[in-house]
């Protein structure tokens, strides 16, 4: 038997170069596959925290060469028990930059481009550049945003099947203490984040009357100091959770209130936990979940094995429980579906169109910006862009879209009513009445 030549990809080669029976449908084993993954696959890692650090290491050692990482945070001391790419002397530096540098120092040949900014700061075509997006986040809002961006690229053909070249897969992980999840999202095929948003129920907030009138627990006393007393005393100066003096003030006010009512349990650490909504986190769980995500990323890209279908939960609190659940798509999902269909007359101006979206029962969109095929038709912000695009408002949308009978446009705005508004991205299918060649409206975008 031949002894293999020494090679850096000694172990990975077994998986990528050899044929197998329990593999993905498009698996074509061979050195070309290994080299193509290196040369042509670009992976975006969203988040350079507990999961992100692990993900960068895992992906760099799983055959990927071109990685980008985006994170707006700077390194804090409390990161050091798990975010293993950071040292005490790095505190205060941007996470994305330090993480990228550390991995490149150790793994020869890997290229990591850091982006120290908010995910919303990047234009949509930044995201379209990647073959796959891996999410290592701890917030529902950020997941929702990236999900909408990736699903926004999705186009359907005339039979309502996703066009393969527009599918941007995502792999998402999350942890809390000894528990975590990993999932894959293939827009148009698996449920997207929004299809199963019920998996992330909104955090229960204490009623203000409980805080003000019938406090019973330490958390009630802390939230009273944080949400009610702070405003009474400091007026317009808003509370800064990262300012130790502010935190100390809330803590001592909470202690006073707790003493007044005979309620035990207010400590400084607990005050921080309640006010900042701290989620406990440990290295081992992050390692497990990130590695599962990295493995799925490789499988999606290479087909070297079957993929997770489609949601893995891990729970190590009582013994060890893992479970795979196959969730199903919400056919009416506003985010990963073909998009809400809007029928318009050719004469409708952009302004009138924007006004319609506010009243549309499924959309309820206000403060709308509109993009068509990467071109800004109208932008609410920044002021320079607003001024540049303002003149479009009085032009017919039909003209602005180049006179096509039907096409997909992207709108960005605030969804919902009252105080429940949140920023969101929606894909719409616009069809113009009375344009030649359109016999029916049962099409799904893409002119």
């Amino acid at each position: 038997m031949a002894v293999s030549q020494p090679s850096r990809s000694r172990d990975l080669d077994k998986l990528l170069l050899r044929p197998g029976h329990l593999v993905g449908p498009n698996f074509e084993p061979g050195p070309e596959l290994r080299d193509d993954i290196k040369e042509y696959v670009k992976v975006l890692v969203v988040g350079a925290g507990g999961l992100g650090c692990e993900l960068l290491k895992d992906l760099a050692l799983t055959g990927f060469k071109y990685l980008d990482v985006i994170d707006m945070d700077r390194i804090e001391v409390t990161n050091l028990n798990r975010q293993f790419l950071f040292r005490l002397e790095d505190v205060g530096k941007p996470k994305a930059e330090v993480a990228a540098k550390r991995v490149m120092e150790r793994v020869n040949g890997v290229n990591i481009t850091p982006h120290f900014c908010r995910i919303e700061d990047k234009p949509l075509d930044f995201y379209s550049d990647f073959s796959i997006i891996v999410l290592g986040l701890d917030s529902v809002e950020a997941r929702s945003y990236i999900n909408a961006v990736a699903c926004g690229f999705l186009e359907y053909d005339s039979e309502d099947n996703p066009r393969e070249e527009t599918v941007k897969p995502m792999v998402d992980g999350g942890t809390e203490g000894f528990k975590g999840h990993a999932r894959i999202i293939v827009p148009g095929t698996t449920p997207c984040f929004e299809c199963t948003i019920w998996l992330f129920p909104p955090q229960v907030k204490f009623p203000l009357c409980t805080l003000a009138e019938t406090p019973r627990t330490a958390a009630h006393c802390i939230e009273y100091a944080h949400l009610i007393k702070w405003n009474e005393v400091h007026g317009s100066r808003s509370f800064d959770p990262d300012n130790p003096e502010d935190m100390q003030w809330v803590y001592s006010e909470a202690v006073k209130r707790a003493e007044l009512f005979g309620i035990p349990g207010v400590t400084y650490s607990f005050t921080q936990g309640v006010v900042k909504n701290i989620i406990p986190a440990i290295a081992s769980t992050n390692a497990i979940i990130s590695a599962a995500c990295a493995l799925e990323t490789l499988k999606i890209v290479s087909g070297c094995s079957k993929t997770l279908s489609n949601y893995l939960t891990y729970n190590g609190v009582e013994g060890l429980h893992t479970k795979v659940t196959e969730f199903v798509r919400d056919k009416d999902c506003l985010v990963c579906g073909p998009g809400v269909l809007i029928e318009l007359d050719k004469s409708v101006t952009l302004k009138k169109f924007i006004d319609q979206l506010e009243d549309h029962p499924r959309l309820l969109l206000s403060r709308v910006s509109v993009t068509h095929r990467g071109k800004n038709l109208y932008m609410q912000a920044p002021p320079v862009l607003e001024e540049m695009t303002r003149s479009n408002l009085d032009l017919p949308l039909f003209e602005l879209m180049g006179g096509v009978a039907k096409d997909v446009i992207h709108v960005n705005g605030m969804a919902g009513k009252g105080d429940k508004k949140q920023s969101c991205l929606r894909k719409l299918r616009v069809v113009f009445r009375g344009v030649d060649g359109i016999a029916d409206i049962d099409m799904a975008g893409g002119a």
Binding site: D58, I278, G319
Partner: protein, 523 residues
């Protein structure tokens, strides 16, 4: 320099100062520092274990650069143990990091007493006969042991400890100890001071649901010959009784009472799993008994006497709609009772210690208090010796797993993970380890696996060709992502074992990287 504990803040919120102290006192030995071992230790060093000792006799090769983050270009040709140890030290200077450049396999043969100095040994990538030898050594020396192995897209984690008793099991969901259907006298008297038919709407909507349920349960029992609702109709009727007491639709306390009404029907007394613990022969204590079993012996006496069939009362209650005054009052009633139960328990513990010839003060008040607070949640985990599992497994279980569709891949991997070691013993390499005659390797592995199954008294027909093929394709590869999963799981279990909090896994965890339908196999 930041405050030393600040960096541990996010984990202190999980296992507290006590758990952290236990970690800081522990000394961990790692056998083999490939990616599986290195990743396990990385997570433990970050968490702040006391000391680590890395044992590995090999040198860093080019291939190691592709799967292990803790070695780099400049370390090729150098001791792997030394290289990995140096990187781990960088992660946390509070940890004492040592290395021994020696093959673990040799150490197991030449110096078995070496292992006795550690709190816990993490043994990675060992073959079957070495695992069995090490298992015996650690069992005799009373050292905790955990095996971890990554192999292609599969792998396993298994704990081997004679007995692991957990006081603070900290389950996510556990029925609160509310005593709704058998309130102790003071609680009963307190409940009697309430009138659910009060005309004052403010008082009515601020009566805690615990009081509502105690009173209604008593009323029901009075009208039903002393028996609580048991049939579905009766339970519904009881809920309607609660609803009928509402005087306004916004009374959160009554809504909470209806939601919690099932707690009234819960069986009185202790759970079957606690019953099993107090019935354990270890609860018959002598001078050699551990503190845990002394405490259990005291608990057993308490339940039979002062407890009236119940464990000591837990101190705290969940939040519920109530006026501040009533809630604080209720809380006080509970802590008074909990304190009284604790004092009785303490007396019993001291008496037992004296009886078995130990210093009556050798178990601290704090320990007894923690024990009382968690008495209903105690856990005892026991693990068979690897040798017993391997040589005389429960045949029935194995056959059951082999024919169960949910388990077929996992148990297939279990058999094949053992078969590759036999294969390696015969042919000096793992199947498919080197490029070449794959078909021959596949047929040899198949023969090996079938004969292994026959030795275990099972039929090999359930082992699929696809899986055998897959195992040969893996060729003993240690993929980084799989190693990070296996190592991550191993380190999570190590933390649970050392902190003595939460419940460690039982049985053998078989990882399936094909579809993540991994399984715990219990033999």
């Amino acid at each position: 320099m930041a405050e030393p504990k600040t960096k541990y803040d996010r984990q202190l919120r999980i296992w507290g100062e006590q758990g952290q102290t236990a970690l800081e006192k522990s000394s961990i030995c790692l056998l083999n520092c490939g990616p599986t071992g290195s990743e396990t230790l990385k997570n433990l060093v970050l968490g702040g274990v006391g000391s680590i000792t890395v044992v590995d006799g090999s040198k860093v090769e080019l291939g190691d650069l592709g799967n292990n983050f803790m070695v780099d270009e400049s370390s090729v040709g150098q001791s792997k143990a030394k290289t990995v140890c140096a990187f781990l030290q960088e992660l946390n200077d509070a940890v004492k990091a040592k290395f021994i450049e020696e093959y673990p396999e040799a150490l197991i043969e030449s110096n078995p007493s070496f292992f006795a100095q550690f709190t816990l040994v993490v043994a990675t990538q060992l073959v079957e006969d070495k695992m069995m030898k090490l298992d015996k050594i650690c069992r005799d020396a009373n050292v905790m042991l955990i095996f971890a192995r990554s192999y292609g897209l599969t792998g396993f984690v298994r704990i081997s400890v004679k007995e692991h008793a957990v006081i603070e099991s900290k389950p996510d969901h556990f029925l609160d100890d509310l005593r709704l259907n058998n309130p102790w006298p003071e609680l009963k008297r307190f409940a009697e001071t309430f009138d659910l038919d009060t005309a004052d709407p403010i008082v009515h909507k601020h009566t805690p649901y615990v009081i509502i349920l105690i009173k209604l349960a008593e009323e029901w029992a009075r009208n039903h010959g002393g028996v609580l609702p048991s049939t579905r109709e009766e339970k519904k009727e009881f809920k309607d009784l609660i609803k009928a007491k509402m005087i306004a639709s916004d009374e959160e306390n009554y809504k909470e009472a209806m939601e919690a009404s099932f707690k009234v029907f819960a069986a009185q007394g202790i759970s079957p799993s606690l019953q099993q613990i107090i019935n354990d022969s270890c609860a018959e204590v002598n001078s050699l008994s551990s503190d845990f079993w002394v405490l259990v012996a005291a608990l057993k006496e308490f339940i039979a006497n002062e407890g009236g069939g119940e464990a000591p009362l837990e101190g705290s209650i969940p939040d519920m709609t109530s006026s501040t005054e009533l809630y604080v009052n209720l809380q006080k009633k509970r802590s008074t009772k909990a304190e009284a139960d604790f004092l009785v328990m303490e007396q019993r513990v001291r008496k037992i210690l004296k009886k078995i010839g130990r210093d009556p003060d050798s178990i601290s008040k704090a320990t007894i208090k923690t024990f009382c607070r968690n008495a209903r949640k105690l856990k005892v985990c026991r693990y068979s010796l690897m040798e017993d599992e391997y040589n005389s497994p429960v045949q029935l279980e194995l056959q059951k797993y082999l024919t169960d569709e949910d388990y077929s891949t996992a148990v297939g991997f279990y058999i094949l993970l053992r078969a590759v070691d036999r294969f390696a013993a015969n042919y000096n390499s793992f199947p498919g380890q080197f490029d070449g005659e794959m078909d021959e390797e596949i047929s040899r592995l198949k023969t090996t696996a079938v004969s292994l199954l026959a030795d275990l008294g099972c039929n090999g027909s359930n082992l699929t060709e696809d899986l055998i093929n897959e195992m040969c394709r893996y060729g003993a590869a240690e993929l980084h992502a799989v190693a990070a999963i296996i190592g991550g799981i191993a380190s999570q279990e190590v933390i649970k074992l050392i902190t003595r909090q939460f419940v460690p896994m039982s049985g053998t965890f078989i990882f399936s990287g094909i579809d993540h339908k991994s399984q715990l196999l219990l033999f």
